[in-house]
Amino acid sequence: MVSDAVSAPVSKARRAGNGTAYPRYVAGKAGGAVVSLLAVLVTGFFLFRLIPGDPVKTMTGGRPVSAAQLAEYRKQFGLDLPLWEQFTDYCRKALSGDLGMSYQFRTPVIDKITEALPNTLLLTGTAFVLYTTLGMFLGIRSAWRQGRVGDRLNTGLALTLYSVPSFWLGLLLIVVFGVGLGPVPGLFPTGGMESGGEEGFAYVLDVAHHLVLPVITLVAVEYGQTLLVTRSSVLDEMGSDYLTTARAKGLRDDLVRRRHAVPNALLPTVTLVFVNLGRTVAGVILVETVFSWPGLGGLFYQALSVPDLPLVQGLFLFFASAVIIMNTLADLVYPLLDPRVGR
């Protein structure tokens, strides 16, 4: 997906010649990313300061609190300062990694985030590898046999699972395979990440056991998108002359597919996978909530049900920045993978 913002620096880069093209492209992308991150920072501030009116009232949640206590809270969270000072203060702190104190846990938000991050990375990483592989594999198969029964089944199933709410699928999997239903015994834990008390290899197995259902849920709701995108990109290459040439020189059908069509088709898929990271974040939040996985998504749910505004704000900044940074990295790697872009 080449947006205008992408193609403008690219066309300039072409004129500049090969030597300086890539550094310029990188500079343009990095500049754009910095602006985007600043926009996230500003949004994070105003979203949580202006709209709710009085954060202290929200914080105390309608409990009867004396005026002295309110003033104390205001001072503690820096809410008695003028808005402009609050903003500069917030920017300075956020840039140095200080995201404020959680109302709920009375610990720094950044500590809660770094604590939960590895768990989320474990869950998301495992699911990401599986759904990308599965989606690409099925997508290529599907496109190669476009219109046949297999393709129809594949696309139909992918579209259906894509329409299923991830949290609902998770709940059903817990009922069937966690709690057990009828003849099916409860095979997997219903939530959490570990049973506790295990060590060494047994601990690894225990975590893997807890990982099964959340990963299945995430893969089921996410692979459809990769499948459809891969299918479209392969279909785009199907009519190409170079495939006719490859066939004309006598290559077997699956060699034509593996060596010629797929490498070209995979490149757009790679970018789209990154552009769609925002959706994956949504899936992770819901799946972690349903399975009580002690990651960032579960933390987000705990924060929003209070509502613990500093924690919601901190996680908002974190998720948004992470997605923007991942997207920028994908943009930077893309021209290296595909010489047709950016050079």
Partner: protein, 303 residues
């Protein structure tokens, strides 16, 4: 021939053309089996939602005087069982369709309206305005939509309006991009130059020439957007960010979870709302894809 007669004649001509293209559209749509299936399912759901006051009535949601005992399994009397207050689940699912469909529809309309305005103006007025607008669109495009919607819904009061707003203002960028691309194509055609040469202003060009040409795209996009809005509404309700006083499918799932239906294995409480959400979302997706491929046979591949 007076000018007035000329305008009347051209209006009649335009109407005739529109009618003809609608007929052509329907003929092409009819060949898409999946699209027809989706359309049928939608008609059914709409009928159920509209007739709900007659079939189940609003007292189905009342927690006092509930007809059954709490958490009964499906039986002849309660085909889908009962919830933790002893309310009839079949009735609740039927009643919940009203909020789910309404919020989905309103959020999609809001989202597509923002997207269409941004897309048409960004395509029509070039220069700094368009650049800034498209940068904003790109920013919203990569943002994790749900996180933004949750943040919005958290800081605002719990109401259906909040949910509509939270979904609408976070999901418009795709529409804006598509509409802008189409606007650029339309505006490069000679008849736009003619309209400008005859003194047509910005408003005239945008509403009389660009808008009719992007309308099919907007319709297809709305159909697809309702599907994701229904899902988003269910998600927000499930996370407890919806209006707690109304019954919706996502809210039912949240109730089920809070009532311990998951650990007790009360599958009948969980299955129907989820299936309803999935079916509606799927039906709108099927319709949207059919409309898309009728309007632009290459779109399905090119996207």
């Amino acid at each position: 021939m007076t000018t007035e007669a000329g305008t009347a004649g051209s209006r009649a001509l335009a109407r005739q053309r529109r009618r003809r293209s609608a007929v052509r559209f329907w003929r092409a749509y009819r060949t898409h089996g999946a699209g027809l299936l989706g359309l049928g399912a939608l008609a059914l759901f709409t009928l159920v939602a509209l007739t709900a006051p007659l079939t189940v009535g609003s007292d189905v949601a009342g927690v006092t005087d509930a007809p059954g005992r709490p958490l009964q399994a499906p039986s002849g009397e309660f085909p889908l069982g009962t919830d933790q207050f002893g309310r009839n689940l079949l009735g609740l699912v039927v009643w919940g369709s009203r909020v789910s469909l309404l919020v989905g529809l309103l959020a999609a309309v809001l989202s597509v309206a923002i997207g269409a305005v941004v897309g048409i103006t960004a395509g029509h007025f070039k220069g700094a305005y368009a650049t800034v607008l498209m940068r904003i669109t790109d920013w919203f495009l990569v943002m994790p939509t749900l996180v933004l919607a949750i943040a919005l819904a958290t800081v605002m009061s719990r109401s259906l309006g909040t949910v509509v707003l939270a979904i609408g203002v976070t999901s418009w960028p795709t529409t804006a991009r598509l509409v802008r691309a189409q606007t650029l194509t339309v505006e490069s055609r000679p008849y736009i130059e003619r309209a400008k040469a005859l003194g047509g202003g910005h408003w005239h060009v945008m509403t009389r020439h660009v808008l009719p040409n992007v309308t099919p795209l907007i319709l297809a996009q709305t159909t697809l957007m309702i599907s994701s809005s229904v899902l988003a509404e269910a998600t927000l309700a499930f996370l407890g960010l919806g209006d707690p006083t109304v019954i919706s499918w996502g809210g039912l799932l949240q109730d089920a979870r809070e009532a311990g239906a998951v650990s007790a294995g009360d599958w009948w409480y969980l299955v129907p709302p989820g299936i309803a959400i999935a079916l509606v979302a799927l039906a709108f997706t099927l319709c949207g894809r059919a409309v898309e491929s009728v309007l632009n046979p290459r779109l399905e591949v090119a996207r």
